[in-house]
């Protein structure tokens, strides 16, 4: 099936061209047909390719398709080629599969929009670039996808460009991502200088052999630098501290976009890139420590902000930031397979949550404020049930998907081989964050679906369950959120329940083989008994449960004045968290303003006055004046012309004959 890989990105690209160029004339029916079919077919092809992968021996599970030579400059030789191994295989299935569901959902969600065709064109373009990112067999192809999804994200955040705020949010996402890209590009340069290549199949074996044969020490500075630069890129794309600020604002886009791009797929690109480069990171434990700590901090920090948000999508946005933190914890503590496990379950339950919130917003006539909602469970049963399932999953309660993946990550953090102490700190942050997550997610459920309806009479009249094209993806995703976790069940539980194997780990492990060799050779991992693992597991379940109960007490149990009371008692803390720790304001003060004033200076003084005024217009003025003067010589008189010729000849002859 190698020969068919290129179809996976190509089909959405075709869809993009058809919808983008002809969409206006085609009518909504054909546009949705083209948009969904292209992605659906891509999903089917991805399934076939994946099937081919499964049918092979574990050590031969690598499909490469090279299309053409792209660049050949000096030592740099870049092919446009695609690679499917276990990692990209799982990832492309998630991208095209979830993408397909969200395309279908969009038919219902966007059906009244004027720019329906433009929406589907952008969405197809996104899937194309995402496929490039995932399937690329070298960093440059990945970077093309990386930039492309950034573009698609920018266009879709600002999709309703009539609102200034939306356009600003798009710009913010774009600019913040540029900062990350700067790191990514520098990392690529450094990688090319170090390894002489950008292809995965050359860089990784080379790095491993250089390490294995002693040419490169653990923690060698160049590797740490490469990894940290790449991680900077990842913090931009995957919304980690310090570059997470764009993601909450990105919720200005249509809700399906938030689900697909800003929850399930694009934002995981950064984690994907880090996991792709797992060998490089394993050789640079310091970089791993940075990744792990930043991730743990992000997971906790973003969760606390989520507590006091009133916009239903903002809550989900901060929870995404927080969950991405968990994924990064996974890669940071060398639990590479656990990362993709969580990515998968997260894609299911977070996409489900977003689509449910979309369904709610749809019913509310565009209102996103949870303070206006309440009691929606009766009006929208399917949405309610599916959202509840997804919430249970994200809260980490067994037996839903989130429990298995989150727990695996936290357990691996606890047993972090390189830095055992830091690992415990990360574990603590993660577990605490998980409790907070359970709290704010159930706050969302209670505020939205329980109690009395607090909106206007008109809204109450309008409330309805969404059409089937919207509820169908919800049901599929909720089902996946329920059972998805069993794919990567912890061996501990699996044994208890009767030999349920951990399919996912076994399948993914060959990709990370070299990394594990490096780790086990470098440090003697501390071993823990099963008792400890059981203890930690029940601990995190207990914390999550207490989060749920706390939310119930505060928002449901007849203590209506309790939230306000708490807010008054802890006014300072409340304001701090409510305003998201003033991070945006601090960035504005420290980064945006200085750059703004510098650019004003450069514009007014350097550009307008020095360059334009003196440098450009000055000579221009001079040329015009001289030109006007010089044309006077051309006075039309034959005598003058002849005289000039004669003069010219005389000068030449004088020169020749030595009067120099």
């Amino acid at each position: 099936m190698e020969g068919f890989i290129f179809l996976i990105p190509l089909l959405p690209l075709l869809g993009f061209f058809i919808n983008g160029l002809l969409g206006k004339r085609l009518g909504k029916g054909i546009v949705s047909y083209v948009g969904c079919t292209s992605v659906g077919l891509a999903f089917v092809i991805a399934l076939f390719v994946f099937g081919d992968l499964l049918s092979r021996e574990p050590e031969h599970r690598l499909l490469v398709q090279t299309l053409w030579d792209w660049l050949q400059v000096g030592g740099l030789n870049v092919h446009v080629s695609f690679m499917v191994d276990q990692l990209s295989g799982v990832m492309i299935l998630i991208v095209t599969g979830v993408g397909f569901l969200i395309h279908i959902y969009s038919i219902g969600y966007m059906h009244e929009d004027e720019s329906y065709w433009r929406y589907f064109a952008y969405l197809n373009m996104f899937v194309f670039f995402m496929a490039m990112l995932v399937l690329g067999a070298n960093y440059l192809v990945m970077f093309v996808g990386w930039e492309g999804v950034g573009l698609a994200s920018y266009l879709l955040i600002g999709f309703w460009y009539q609102g200034n705020a939306n356009a600003d949010a798009g710009k913010k996402a774009f600019v913040v991502n540029r900062i990350g890209d700067f790191g990514f590009v520098l990392g690529m340069f450094l990688m090319f200088i170090t390894f002489g290549s950008l292809s995965y199949l050359e860089v990784f074996p080379k790095a491993f052999h250089m390490y294995a044969h002693g040419y490169m020490a653990l923690n060698s500075p160049v590797m740490v630098a490469i990894c940290l630069l790449l991680f900077l890129g990842a913090t931009g794309k995957s919304a980690q501290i310090p570059l997470y600020v764009w993601l909450p604002d990105a919720m200005a886009g249509p809700t399906p976009v938030s689900a697909l791009i800003h929850a399930a797929t694009m934002v995981t690109a950064g984690v994907y890139m880090v996991a792709r480069s797992n060998i490089l990171y394993t050789i640079a434990p310091t970089a791993l420590l940075v990744v792990g700590l930043v991730a743990g901090l992000t997971a906790l920090f973003a969760a606390t902000i989520g507590i006091l948000q009133n916009d239903i999508k903002k809550v989900l946005a901060y929870s995404t930031v927080s969950q991405l933190g968990y994924m990064f914890i996974g890669v940071g503590v060398t639990a590479y397979w656990a990362w993709i496990f969580h990515l998968m379950t997260h894609a299911f339950f977070k996409a489900c949550l977003f689509l449910c919130s979309g369904s709610v917003i749809h019913a509310m006539g565009g209102d996103q404020d949870m303070r206006h909602m309440g009691g929606l469970a009766k009006k929208m049963p399917i949405t309610y049930v599916t959202m509840l399932i997804a919430t249970l999953a994200i809260a980490g309660l067994p037996p839903f998907a989130g429990f298995f993946s989150k727990d695996e990550i936290l357990w691996r953090a606890f047993t972090f081989p390189y830095f055992p102490v830091a690992g415990k700190v990360i574990w603590f942050m993660g577990t605490l964050g998980a409790g907070i997550t359970a709290f704010y997610m159930f706050r969302l459920i209670f505020m939205t679906f329980h109690g009395e309806f607090r909106g206007t009479a008109e809204q109450a009249h309008h409330l309805h369950e969404s059409p089937f094209s919207m509820t169908f993806p919800l049901i599929v995703l909720a089902t996946l959120s329920t059972i998805g976790g069993w794919l990567g069940i912890s061996p501990l539980i699996g044994e208890q329940l009767g030999e349920i194997p951990n399919v996912l780990e076994g399948f993914l492990e060959p990709v990370f083989e070299h990394s594990h060799e490096i780790v086990s050779a470098a440090v003697q991992a501390q071993s823990y008994s099963h008792g400890v693992e059981w203890l930690l597991m029940s601990c995190s379940v207990a914390i999550a449960l207490s989060g749920v109960i706390l939310a119930y007490v505060i928002y449901m149990a007849k203590a209506k004045e309790l939230p306000e009371k708490l807010a008054k008692t802890y006014a300072l803390h409340y304001r701090l968290v409510y305003n998201k720790y003033y991070v945006d304001e601090i960035y504005y003060l420290l980064v945006v303003l200085p750059i703004y004033y510098l650019s004003i200076f450069l514009w007014k003084v350097v550009d307008a006055f020095c360059i334009d005024g003196i440098g450009v217009n000055g000579p221009g003025w001079l040329v015009k004046k001289t030109s006007g003067g010089a044309r006077l010589v051309q006075n039309g008189y034959l005598q003058t012309y002849g005289a000039f010729m004669a003069l010219g000849l005389v000068v030449i002859l004088c020169y020749f004959l030595g009067f120099r």
Partner: protein
């Protein structure tokens, strides 16, 4: 040179100068055809004569490309030679002639001038130019120069009753006589000194001792001045604006390309065969001594340095303040001569190649521009000023787009052939150490970009002030415009093939005999 070269033989004449023979015969035959046409088919006289001319020129081109290009015996009686350099330049001239003829059919119709002698004169002008380039005999060179010039003088005056046309032609004639006189005087001096007018014999004779005599230097200066007149280098350029503005638009295009190509070709040939020969590379022992002549470079190179600078500078500078697009293009053609002079100054293989490439691409873009210009003009001098070009971009999108393309090519922007040509001559000059001149040249081309782009600015960014009435677009003109536009883009993207041919062509100067 072998003695065989001086023996007359018809087959040899046909092989070496067959193109010229075809042109003369065609020209003479067309005179009679025209007499017949003007009595029987008055209405279609211009069109039929035009197509017959194109046919004759195509036949000549075929002969040049398929026969003369691959010739081994290249000299006829010590008068003409068909080495690849001459053939290449002749092909450029023929290309200009064919394009000009194609456009002339429409031009003459638009101006109500459909008279057959126009095309006959055009054929003789082409003939004269080709003979000029192919001759290796100073006397023949002079005769050819006059044949070419006389035909052009009349063509320049072809707009009867138009004052500017008459005035320009007269000025051209008088000043041209001046230039011819310079050339003839230089020739006479050389003949007096050496007893020969053959380029290679001159090279051999001069190289043995006498080349630094004042008389030789005066002769060189005179000949240079005479040719600079045709090449329109400052200060011998003064005639160009008046003549180019006055002449029929298509003839202006032809003058700026074919005549210029001829003048540049013959100048390069004279320089590198006789005065600073690369003959010494030919492997023939008798020419080894001509290496001496390289010291003449110390004389002509500084002169050319200054003239190239002045030409680039004044050509571009004065073009800035022109309000009439045709006149602006006249100055721009002066400026282009300056860039080509840069290639000659470099005096290396790449420089000569660059000059050939430049001439080729310049022919395409300049004739293309004049083709669009005459259509927009309607009737000559109908709409030539910058003001007239305001807002054309949206009313006549195709014509405006073509005009923009040609202007962009002249400004030397990629991906057009204009950029490649400039690149070659500049890099050749830099290779020879003329860094300052190249830098100044690039600066002047910035000035050039200003006035070229200003026309585009007028077309697309300004609203029309007055209604203009472009003439009908004739089918032959469409062919010519398509050829020029495609050529400019093709050779801008894939210049390698043409550059390789031009390199071979310039090498042949070492093997004239």
């Amino acid at each position: 040179m072998s003695e065989v070269g001086f023996v007359f033989s018809l087959s040899r004449l046909w092989h070496v100068a067959g193109g010229q023979v075809i042109l003369i015969l065609a020209g003479l035959a067309l005179i009679f055809v025209d007499i017949w046409l003007s009595t029987k088919h008055k209405a279609n006289e211009g069109t039929i004569m035009g197509w017959l001319t194109i046919f004759a020129l195509m036949a000549t081109l075929g002969h040049l490309v398929f026969r003369e290009w691959s010739l081994h015996d290249i000299v006829f009686m010590g008068v003409f030679s068909a080495e690849k350099f001459s053939v290449f330049v002749s092909c450029i001239v023929l290309m200009a002639g064919i394009l000009a003829s194609l456009m002339s059919i429409g031009y003459l119709r638009n101006n109500g001038l459909a008279r057959g002698e126009y095309f006959i004169l055009l054929i003789f002008a082409v003939y004269g130019t080709i003979a000029l380039v192919q001759s290796v005999d100073l006397l023949m060179m002079f005769i050819a120069l006059e044949v070419m010039s006389l035909a052009i003088y009349i063509l320049a005056a072809f707009l009867k009753g138009d004052q500017k046309s008459q005035e320009g032609a007269l000025k051209y004639f008088l000043l041209g006589s001046f230039g011819s006189a310079f050339f003839l005087f230089g020739l006479a001096l050389l003949f007096g000194l050496t007893g020969s007018v053959n380029l290679t014999v001159l090279a051999k004779t001069l190289s043995v001792g006498i080349f630094e005599q004042p008389a030789v230097l005066v002769a060189l200066g005179m000949i240079m001045a005479g040719l600079f007149f045709k090449m329109a280098l400052v200060p011998f350029h003064m005639w160009t604006p008046d003549v180019y503005e006055g002449s029929p638009a298509v003839i202006t295009g032809f003058m700026a390309t074919a005549v210029k190509a001829g003048a540049f070709g013959v100048f390069v040939k004279l320089l590198f065969v006789t005065f600073t020969p690369i003959l010494s590379l030919s492997g023939q022992p008798e020419f080894f001594t001509t290496v001496n002549l390289a010291s003449l470079g110390a004389y002509w190179k500084p002169v050319l340095w200054w003239l190239a600078l002045l030409t680039m500078f004044f050509g571009n500078l004065i073009a800035v303040s022109q309000e009439n697009v045709k006149r602006m293009l006249a100055y721009s053609s002066v400026a282009h001569a300056g860039y080509m002079a840069l290639g000659i100054l470099a005096a290396n293989a790449e420089g000569r190649m660059g000059v050939l490439f430049y001439l080729f691409s310049y022919t395409l873009m300049n004739l293309g521009a004049f083709g669009v210009l005459y259509i927009l003009d309607g009737k000559e001098r109908g709409a030539q000023t910058l003001e007239d070009y305001r807002g054309l971009g949206f009313k006549y999108p195709t014509l405006s787009f073509l005009m923009s393309l040609f202007l962009v090519a002249m400004a030397g922007l990629p991906p057009t052939a204009g950029f490649i040509g400039k690149f070659y001559v500049f890099s050749a000059a830099i290779k020879e150490g003329y860094l300052l001149l190249a830098a100044l040249g690039v600066l002047t081309s910035v000035i050039g970009a200003y006035y070229y782009l200003r026309v585009i600015y007028m077309m697309y960014m300004k609203d029309a002030v007055r209604e203009i009435t472009p003439g009908p677009v004739a089918a032959p003109t469409v062919i010519a415009l398509v050829i020029t536009a495609l050529g400019i883009i093709y050779f801008g993207i894939l210049p390698e093939g043409l550059a390789r041919i031009a390199t071979i062509a310039q090498q042949s100067l070492a093997f004239v005999f």
